[in-house]
């Protein structure tokens, strides 16, 4: 059954890629929007999650508006895929990059990014188009994105094979080489992580829109143990194949000796920056992710 599903998904992905190649961006967005609407209609579990997350965050309090925002978020995901597939055309030369992406990089962040041989940790969330962000940063220095492989290995291979990655490469989140991330930073690369995925270990419950969310501590730990600059950034869509790339001042936290406290100080700041970014463009956030899926057990009342 699983093999059949993977094969069907693979066939669909191939069709979508072929259509995307033949259409100009506006038409490709039109098609992507319709497909996203269909997905929104069919996948009631994710739709419910998205609406419920939006209401829980307080970004929208009216259920009808939350529903509309959830649908916009699904359309956004469709557009992210189209943009990522078409990015090669737009970002190929410097003129194209300059016209497509407005760079708003804090001077401190730019200094760290531009320093030769200096590893930098760049953190973002599922806001805007994180792949365009990584592609743009890779023109400054090589970017290694930490990723979880797709559930469907056929689609994973298809996507990997067709993308002109250039100086943007991927590495699995859990690599048997324990020193992989440390080597990446030592090699003077940008290590890019998305920090808003659910962390099953639940070691760090960080407030996200006022509710505790299990958050990965790896970005914070990398900063604490290597001293590499840690920058929060994101890339918002401002038009058809137009973007605004924002990178904030690097966060610097000195260790106190308490790993948990140090990590959570950093994660709290990063999460607060992510919340601010989401409030700027709530329709460009992946609300369908079950960010609050596990909550700490409440102490039994006496």
């Amino acid at each position: 059954m699983k093999k059949l599903r993977h094969a069907v998904e693979y066939g669909g992905a191939r069709l979508a890629l072929a259509a995307c190649d033949r259409l100009d961006p506006r038409r490709a967005f039109f098609v992507a929007d319709r497909l996203a609407d269909a997905w929104f209609l069919i996948d009631h579990r994710r739709r419910r999650t998205a609406v419920s997350n939006i209401l829980a965050s307080g970004v929208e309090t009216d259920p009808r508006r939350a529903f509309a925002l959830a649908r916009a978020s699904f359309r956004h995901m469709g557009r992210v895929i189209v943009e990522s597939l078409k990015a090669g055309d737009v970002l190929a030369d410097e003129g194209g990059r300059r016209s497509a992406v407005e760079m708003q990089i804090h001077p401190g962040a730019m200094e760290a990014l531009a320093a030769p041989g200096r590893g930098v940790i760049v953190i973002s969330g599922h806001i805007g188009n994180w792949e365009i962000a990584a592609r743009m940063l890779s023109f400054i220095k090589p970017v290694v994105g930490v990723t979880r492989p797709m559930n469907n290995p056929l689609v994973e291979r298809l996507v990997r094979d067709r993308k002109p990655w250039g100086r943007f490469t991927l590495t699995p989140k859990h690599d048997a080489n324990a020193a992989r991330f440390l080597q990446t930073l030592a090699g003077g690369n940008i290590l890019a992580l998305l920090a808003d995925q659910h962390a099953p270990d639940m070691k760090h419950m960080i407030p996200f829109f006022g509710r505790p969310a299990a958050t990965h501590g790896s970005a914070a730990l990398l900063h604490l143990i290597t001293g590499a600059p840690l920058c929060f950034g994101y890339c918002l869509r401002s038009g058809t194949m137009k973007f605004r790339l924002i990178a904030l001042e690097p966060i610097v936290v000195k260790r106190t000796g308490s790993r948990k406290d140090d990590v959570e100080t950093i994660l709290t700041r990063l999460t607060a920056e992510l919340e601010k970014a989401i409030r700027v463009a709530p329709d460009q956030y992946l609300w369908a992710h079950r960010r609050w899926r596990d909550q700490p057990a409440k102490p039994a009342s006496s």
Binding site: A179, F181, G217, S218, L221, I225, T226, R259
Partner: protein
């Protein structure tokens, strides 16, 4: 500090940060780091704790060649100049 003392302290730190089910008393210098449940993500807690516990500053990426607990002990000894536990914060 002897290698055995370092091993005891490492076992304690590893037990705290690993999520793997391991018989920690059976961990020896020959045990591989990977077999104790550490990968590129889960090693980070341990590195922080080692830097803190042994009072050493080291370029964490130098751990790249370290595959076994024994190699980790040797690495730490080289960082500490063979004088683990003294006041200064050696760096390697």
């Amino acid at each position: 500090m002897s290698n055995d003392d370092i091993l005891v302290r490492l076992r304690h730190l590893m037990k705290q940060s690993s999520q793997a089910k391991v018989d920690w008393d059976a961990v020896t210098a020959d045990s591989t780091i990977a077999s104790l449940g550490f990968d590129s993500l889960t090693i980070l807690d341990l590195v922080y704790d080692i830097q803190q516990e042994f009072g050493v500053e080291f370029e964490a990426e130098k751990l790249a060649g370290v595959k076994t607990v024994g190699e980790l002990i040797a690495f730490l000894r080289s960082c500490m100049g063979g004088t683990a536990g003294e006041k200064a914060a050696p760096r390697c």
